[in-house]
């Protein structure tokens, strides 16, 4: 089975509009889904889940969210960490206030709360663009972290100032707290990621996505065809913040379990997610996955090779890790400024003809 579109005729517009128009792509997607849902849960242990799968799944959600705002709507944001913190704290407050309600609902509600906060901090985007907007969202980042540090109500007046996730279950199986098995949190995050990725794809291939991209490419022309800039930008902030809030809620409740806001959701987090979408590819859902995978896997891989394989001391390996990841980022961006998604696209173009030259 080769990567071919010849003979794969579309006879109606619905077929032509689908997410994977080429049959081979579609089958590969089904295969990946089957593997992720059917095989991975039986193969993984605690190390794999905590080192790779959970961070990858959660960062992928955050990256898709940020990509909607930056890659599709063209509004630069450095507030990702702050918005993830909103999601985490909203989830914490909800979990502790209504313990009988499912964590699944809490996570989605936390996203909703973050969407509202995102719209609020998105208001300056109506007046300012580009770097200036980035600075304005930076203010959101610092303000939100300060807020969660200073107002004890948010961390339920705990002595340490930290928040920690109590045990919550889905269908009777623990997904948060200390008594989880490896596969439960993994499947929980995977289900949410799959749903949200589908939503993101549907939004970006339809009229809403076109409105966002119109604003990104030329806001004056967008207005002249009837796009209300206020609605388009704020909806991008809302949807993007929803995704990021869900990611923050999962990051806190499922992945870390206990969080100190300045450490977990600082400015580093904002930059990390931004790097993911730049390396992965702006304006591409696949790019969000690729970027998240790259930045989560690379350090783990390097550590295993340097410490495990070559037997180097841990501290030297840790420093080298920074150097190598940094260098790789530069190499990738020089080779392909549009990110891994573009590399993937070019590879597919080539594959389409391979092994014939034309």
């Amino acid at each position: 089975m080769f990567y071919r579109e010849a003979g794969d005729f579309k006879t109606n517009y619905a077929d032509d509009n689908q997410t994977f128009p080429i049959r081979f792509d579609r089958y590969r997607y089904y295969a990946v889904m089957l593997f992720a849902f059917g095989a991975v849960p039986f193969l993984i242990n605690d190390y794999w889940v905590n080192a790779i799968f959970l961070p990858f799944l959660i960062y992928a959600i955050a990256a898709i969210g940020l990509n909607i705002l930056v890659g599709y709507c063209g509004q630069v944001s450095l507030g990702t960490g702050g918005f993830m913190a909103v999601g985490a704290y909203a989830c914490y407050k909800l979990m502790t206030a209504f313990p009988e309600i499912s964590i699944f609902i809490h996570v989605l509600l936390a996203g909703g709360v973050t969407a509202l906060v995102g719209v609020l901090f998105g208001l300056p985007s109506l007046r300012i663009k580009g770097f200036y907007l980035a600075v304005a969202t930076l203010a959101a980042q610092f303000f939100l972290v300060w807020l969660f540090n200073r107002v004890p109500w948010f961390y339920n007046y705990s002595a340490s100032g930290q928040i920690s996730a109590p045990e919550r279950t889905v269908f009777g199986i623990a997904v948060t707290g200390p008594n989880t098995t490896a596969w439960a949190p993994y499947l929980f995050c995977l289900v949410i990621l799959t749903l949200l990725a589908l939503v993101a794809r549907n939004l970006t291939r339809g009229m809403q996505g076109r409105k966002w991209m119109a604003i990104r490419d030329m806001d004056i022309a967008a207005e002249i065809i009837g796009v209300n800039p206020l609605k388009a930008k704020l909806s991008a902030f809302a949807v993007s913040s929803f995704f990021i809030g869900v990611a923050g809620a999962l990051f806190f409740s499922v992945y870390l379990g206990a969080v100190e806001v300045g450490e977990a959701f600082g400015i580093n987090q904002s930059f990390l997610v931004l790097f993911m979408i730049i390396i992965g590819g702006l304006g591409s859902i696949f790019g969000s996955f690729a970027g998240a995978a790259f930045l989560v896997l690379m350090p783990v891989l390097l550590k295993n090779v340097l410490v495990g394989g070559l037997g180097w001391p841990t501290d030297i390996a840790a420093h080298l890790e920074f150097l190598i990841v940094g260098a790789l980022i530069i190499v990738f961006l020089i080779a392909e400024p549009h990110g891994l998604a573009q590399l993937w696209r070019v590879a597919k173009e080539k594959l389409r003809l391979w092994p014939f030259p034309h």
């Binding site: 009229m207 119109a214 490419d217 002249i224 065809i225």
Partner: protein, 273 residues
């Protein structure tokens, strides 16, 4: 053709021209102390091709910007479909059914030709965010229906072969055509064209003229255009407004305008006292 009545009539070549769809009444537009437009009135009738001509800096583009809502005139009124139009934002004007193209192309470079033309259907697609997120019901139905309409426009303007190409990769002439397609996809009541033939060679101009005439003929689109190429203007348009230094110096059929002494002076030049 120059009678001021509001009745519809049929032209020599068999097109029906209806009543007044847009009327500009005594428009004056100032930028600080500079008067860009001084006390100009004219109307646009349904189904006609209306040209606005004049030397550089005459205020033609400003006039178009007043119509499409970028500028709000200090004095005067814009009447649209029999009602006075309050000051509105460009996107509201677009939602009322006035589409336009720009002198220097304003397309979405990162999107495919198809997506660019689909954005023209904005007014006809109103599924909400939830429906779109699930790609169910109204959202899916609208997407397919409007795609069918857009394909008609794409066929009409002969850009099928570049349907899925990103606009950024296209040459100038094709971009102009895509921009026209986007404006036409909106099924506008009035289509404003700002120098549709700027920077084109003779063949491309011929193509474009053909599209403008066919558009008017087939879809009955009302067109108001600014153009510098006199031959084109005189051939295409039903009525012509001539502007010079922000004032209206002539208005009528191409023949009337051609023989107007003020117009001749403005174009050939006389000593201004």
């Amino acid at each position: 053709m120059n009678d001021m009545s509001n009745d519809s009539f049929v032209t020599d070549d068999g097109r029906t021209i209806g009543g007044v769809v847009m009327e500009m009444k005594n428009i004056t537009l100032r930028f600080g102390g500079v008067k860009a437009i001084t006390d100009i009135s004219f109307d646009i009738r349904e189904g006609e091709i209306r040209a606005i001509i004049g030397p550089n800096g005459a205020g033609k583009s400003s006039m178009l910007n007043v119509i499409s809502g970028f500028y709000v005139p200090q004095e005067g009124e814009v009447w649209y479909k029999g009602a006075k139009r309050p000051p509105m934002k460009p996107y509201q004007v677009a939602q009322q059914g006035i589409a336009r193209t720009f002198q220097n192309i304003a397309l979405f470079e990162g999107m495919s030709v198809l997506d660019n033309v689909m954005t023209g259907r904005l007014r006809q697609m109103n599924a909400n965010l939830i429906q779109q997120a699930l790609w169910k019901g109204k959202a899916e139905k609208e997407e397919v229906e409007n795609r069918a309409f857009v394909e008609r426009i794409i066929d009409f303007l002969e850009i099928q072969h570049i349907r899925k190409t990103p606009v950024g990769r296209l040459p100038y002439g094709l971009k102009k055509r895509v921009e026209l397609a986007r404006a036409l996809a909106a099924e506008p009541s009035i289509l404003l064209l700002d120098e549709p033939m700027a920077g084109m060679n003779v063949e491309e101009k011929e193509d474009m003229s053909r599209f403008i005439l066919d558009m008017n003929d087939e879809f009955g689109t009302t067109i108001a255009l600014i153009e510098h190429d006199m031959g084109v203007v005189m051939d295409l348009s039903d009525r012509v407004v001539v502007m010079d230094y922000g004032k209206k110096i002539g208005d009528g059929t191409p023949d009337e305008v051609r023989n107007n002494q003020d117009v001749i002076d403005a174009y050939l030049g006389v000593a201004h006292d």
